[in-house]
Assembly symmetry: C2
Homo-oligomer: 432 residues x 2
């Protein structure tokens, strides 16, 4: 866990005026991302209000530590991640000082770029992408559709369940979602056919970026796992439910998922989240304790993510009418997660599997226990049996062409300036 220090001071403001009171990117956030201007090479930057502070430029100008220059001058964050948690904290302190203290304004201001004018990229080269399944309410809701009396399998409360996803099709927010084709077999059909998915869905998740990682054959003790997490993003695990139902046994989801995974462009650092950590929710009476390799007092006390999540839907008709997007769900990550981010990391490496800087790990769908906090249409529409009616009168069981789906996240805590993740969005295009 990262400590709370002067960079979190609610009294601190920035000379970048748009940062003060900014819902996502006040000076207390300082998320990292990769942007490009025109046809220039992508660069690492920090979001501050409506602006981006160019770390390559600032580094080259001598505003940051010299031994960071190589890593911060690249087009991805992978090399920076190898610098580890101490340098990450030090960079945060440095940036917080540069962007708050008027004395640095003359030298720093030339390295600001207006965010509205840039193109955002993936923050790093993702070698491996793994998706977990730690949202216990989601697992229960989905399990109930298959096994009404016994929704959770016996391993769920011992094993942080995860599976490998496709790294090549992870894309940054805004990438169009071409409706995938695949084998569809309705329950009453004798044989499957191949065509556009009829049950296209989203999954509300958080993404975890790995900072240092481990060598093949080594493990990551639970007490050290937090230090291996660079930060978090929003993640939409787009899912074709009809393809999934037909293909997933016995080896798990594959083409139902790997046509696209979208992530928000700004990585909110582990350091920025320090004021928003909370205790893991107590395990229900009768649940087993985590096995010793997954159990850590500090993690139990502060492994919870106090991140408020929301999902909105804007249909083509709503867009044409200028109507507000409809809120599909709202809920908090901490209450949705049965396993902490540290437990996810430790479990992933517990057999000697090597995690590498820039690896992306999805939490799994984060549904809360309430009906207002369900993280997928599969749950909201009960597998399509209970379509929802939108304000304009349209109904939805699953996503239609033209729909734009957006994930949001904000952190709010007593005595802290709220910070946000920005958004992760995608619009559905017809199958080609």
């Amino acid at each position: 866990m990262s400590e709370i220090d002067e960079t979190h001071d609610p009294a601190r403001t920035s000379w970048v005026e748009s940062a003060n009171g900014h819902p996502d990117f006040p000076i207390q956030n300082l998320p990292l991302g990769v942007f490009s201007v025109g046809k220039q090479e992508p660069r690492i930057g920090v979001a501050i209000g409506e602006m981006i502070f160019d770390l390559k430029g600032a580094s080259a100008a001598g505003l940051l530590d010299d031994h960071w220059k190589l890593a911060l001058g690249l087009s991805t964050l992978n090399a920076w991640f190898t610098h580890g948690p101490d340098d990450a904290r030090e960079l945060r302190r440095k940036l917080s000082g540069l962007l708050s203290d008027e004395r640095y304004r003359p030298s720093a201001e030339p390295h600001l770029v207006r965010a509205a004018t840039v193109e955002m990229h993936l923050p790093c080269d993702i070698h491996d992408y793994t998706d977990f399944y730690v949202g216990i309410h989601h697992a229960t809701n989905v399990g109930r559709q298959f096994r009404p009396d016994n929704p959770l399998l016996p391993n769920y409360k011992y094993v942080p369940i995860g599976y490998h996803g496709r790294a090549s099709s992870v894309r940054v927010s805004g990438t169009p979602v071409v409706r995938p084709k695949g084998q569809r077999k309705p329950p009453d059909a004798e044989a499957p056919d191949y065509g556009p998915s009829r049950r296209l869905d989203y999954e509300l998740e958080l993404g975890i970026f790995i900072r240092c990682g481990n060598e093949l054959g080594n493990t990551i003790p639970i007490g050290e796992a937090g230090g291996h997490i660079a930060g978090y993003c929003l993640l939409n695990d787009w899912s074709a439910r009809d393809l999934q139902a037909w293909e997933y046994q016995p080896l798990g989801p594959f083409l139902a998922k790997n046509f696209l995974t979208s992530i928000s462009p700004w990585m909110v650092t582990a350091e920025a989240l320090a004021p928003f950590r909370k205790a893991m929710p107590p395990r229900p009476e009768g649940d087993p304790a985590p096995l010793p390799y997954l159990l850590d007092e500090a993690d139990q006390a502060a492994g919870g993510l106090g991140i408020e999540l929301a999902v909105t839907l804007e249909t083509a008709r709503m867009r044409a009418a200028g109507a507000e997007p409809h809120v599909l769900s709202k809920g908090e990550a901490a209450t949705a997660m049965y396993w902490s981010a540290a437990q996810i990391v430790t479990h992933h490496a517990s057999n000697g599997c090597n995690l590498q800087p820039g690896d992306l790990i999805g939490t799994g769908t984060l549904s809360t226990a309430e009906e207002s906090g369900l993280g997928s249409l599969l749950e909201i529409s009960q597998g399509g049996k209970a379509p929802i009616t939108l304000p304009g009168g349209e109904t939805r069981s699953f996503l239609e062409d033209g729909d734009e789906l957006t994930l949001w996240a904000r952190c709010i805590a007593d005595g802290a300036v709220p910070i946000g993740f920005g958004s992760c969005t995608g619009r559905i295009l017809p199958a080609t």
Copy 2:
């Protein structure tokens, strides 16, 4: 499919004497790999008998086409794969000429390195690794252990089943296999514990390397899939069966597999395999035809891989006694596979998932219908219920520390010079 041309001429010999009659690497093979000498940067090379022909050196010396120089001068084959099938065929013709015609000997010989003196590396940077499950006898044998009356799930004969594996832990043959730890829950135990796997196994597979690939959102028509395959290697999907049984539901195998996947260092090119292609085995009476997107006449006629596979085991005691390794199984890939390599590639991209140059795809375990051709100890020992007795009197249900397991592959066909894959080996080390 690649055509048979003068490079396959059985009368052709090499001035590299060790190539003539070499069981694996005669001049008709010419597999590609990446090697290093001492502390030098890894280079691309071609195996020829007991020697390696250094393609970076040969290219720099002007012995190969100038527009290949950049790609052949790198430390991985990824860039070369983007050159596509025409250049692959042309490189093969060029190499076959250089290494067979005495006139080229003076200029080519300085670029030969003795294979015994080099270190081999992964042939390419593997961005994504996917493992399929197209060995129908394996799927049936494994399924029978769980569902005696209904071993194959209803989707098996429609969907080439696959799942994502871990790219970071793919290693070249010879990498030690550290026994993984994980959650083990014997059927009679009330709860799992964490410790070294007691049921460590291998899986005999072939690996497929992707040459060009497709853009996200595009597909690869079945008639074009063969052109996207650069070549093949041996692949051992090491598996911890106790971890697997406990963790795999509902999202598939994860820590049971991702501690290590070993591949043989030499990629036998699609071009070299041309004389050994055969018809896909006819589908059993009553089986559905492949859906149209997976059906291609040419692929049905020549999509089968005439590759003879074998597995040997050498225990520590056998090694100490100087005894011959024991043959665990022997069989042919073509008869083991329900789906062809082209069908695998087309299915993988059929939802718009992008395949990239250097992606690795495993076929899944290739067991034949015979008891002598089973590709895993899970099958050979019937899940541990029928341990085998080795020639020296030792017994095995699963792999023990000190065991060395080796996969082999050779191609034999009338009128063709036999070629081989070399081997893929790994020795089990105790858990750390």
